[in-house]
Amino acid sequence: MRTRFHQSLDDLKEKLLRMGGLAEQAVDRAIEAYRLRDAALCQQVLEGERAINTMEREIDELALDLLAMQQPMAVDLRFIIAIVKINADLERVGDQAVNVVQRVMELVKLQEAELSADIPRVGTVASNMVRTALESFIYARADVAEQVLKTDSQLDQLNAEVYHAMLKTMHENPSLTSQALNTLLISRNLERVGDHATNIAEDVIFWVRGADVRHLFGSQAANR
């Protein structure tokens, strides 16, 4: 019986990784869609959301079944709790990718403008955070998860730079307000992706170490 249970845990892990792959792909496509002003790629991201939502439900159902039928303890219990929470964050990552492409579709309709906002850079940092968080999950590496926590402030900084630059653009060149506003919102959505990656990393640390590191800052979190 217990062997079957541990196989189910492996299934759950595999499903979550597929879910993670879909969410990661959605973010990467959204960044690419921005870079290329590509409406077709935007469409792909919108269509991909359904698969992510389906997957989210499947994972929650399996997790709930295992909680009810197997009454897991200790590391198994922490693992399932972490999965349920990571699952919700990945679904939100998918939502943020959709938000980004909706802004990109607005931008495509507008005249192209040279803006001093390095969205691909913001996107790369955010996407790397998701990738690293998932990697820490695959290998049960709390130390890798900690790297994600440390990167979050860098992403916040990049987002703040875009915000101030776009505010300046809107002041100085009001005809570019729509472009600047959409760009600012894209940056904000990508910053949110990083927040979800941070949550995922915290859940991995909880699973592996049994320590709750949420809402601790910097070195305090790393010392736990």
């Binding site: 217990r2 249970f5 009454q71 303890m73 200790a74 922490r78």
Partner: protein, 253 residues
């Protein structure tokens, strides 16, 4: 009121085979403490050392200190009978005296000790059956029905009432619900929760969910040693020892 139990370097033997290897434990007063571990790990032997039941088996030996409150129960001059009055025990299989009435089952311990005041005896029987949550079900047939005529769950509560009648300070329970259906098990677990207000309870169980539900502290035994002892929520969410984790997650045992 319950009293605390201090166990120091407790060793126990069956013949030449050492079944407990220097166990140390502080059991808090008025708490339920669960002991878990695979069969043969020594947890039942351990509880049987807490009321000097172990020595009733021929060829056995005990070494170390067990303090029940201020009393060193293995010190010279401490009578075993007195220890067993202060430290009651309930076993896995309900074992009421089959030919005795419900009343006599509960009163047996007191009568054996020469207690003869009928009025006072009535009071104690009623109080004990109430504490064991059995009074309402049996009050009309106390002297008419035999203990053996009750259901398994009722018999187990009768045995608890019998143990409580002599006013112990500690109640040891060795798998008290493993032979019972879920409803009777639920009643015993609720009872443990109520009884710990007045008694110190030590419960041996194979059912880890049961330990998690009833006990404030849990000890994990393996191969005659106590591997880990901590708050129950710590043991079941994040145990410190790998062996504890492997056992409670079903990776061995």
């Amino acid at each position: 009121m319950g009293v605390g139990i201090e166990v120091r370097n407790l060793k126990a033997w069956y013949g030449s085979s050492e079944a407990l290897h220097s166990v140390n434990m502080s059991i808090a007063a008025n708490q339920a403490t669960a002991l878990i571990g695979p069969s043969g790990c020594g947890k039942s032997t351990f509880v049987r050392c807490l009321n000097r039941m172990h020595e009733t088996i021929p060829g056995t030996k005990v070494d170390g200190t067990v303090m029940i409150g201020q009393t060193d129960i293995y010190a010279n001059g401490t009578p075993a009978v007195e220890v067993r009055r202060r430290v009651g025990m309930v076993f896995q299989k309900p074992n009421p005296f089959p030919t005795m009435s419900i009343y006599d089952n509960v009163a047996a311990g007191l009568k054996l000790n020469g207690f003869r005041n009928r009025h006072r005896l009535d009071e104690i029987v009623e109080k004990s059956l109430k504490q064991a949550a059995l009074w309402e079900e049996v009050k009309d047939s106390l002297k008419k029905k035999s203990g053996a005529s009750l259901s398994g769950g009722q018999q187990q509560r009768l045995c608890i009432a019998r143990a409580l009648a002599v006013e112990p300070e500690v109640l040891l329970m060795d798998e008290p619900a493993s032979a019972l259906d879920p409803i009777s098990t639920g009643k015993i677990e609720e009872l443990i929760d109520e009884l710990k207000v007045n008694y110190t309870i030590v419960i041996v169980t194979h059912n880890m969910q049961q330990a998690a539900r009833v006990a404030g502290f849990t000890g994990f035994f393996l191969l005659g040693t106590m591997v880990e002892f901590d708050k129950t929520e710590k043991i079941f969410t994040n145990p410190s020892d790998k062996r504890t984790e492997d056992y409670i997650t079903g990776r061995f045992g």
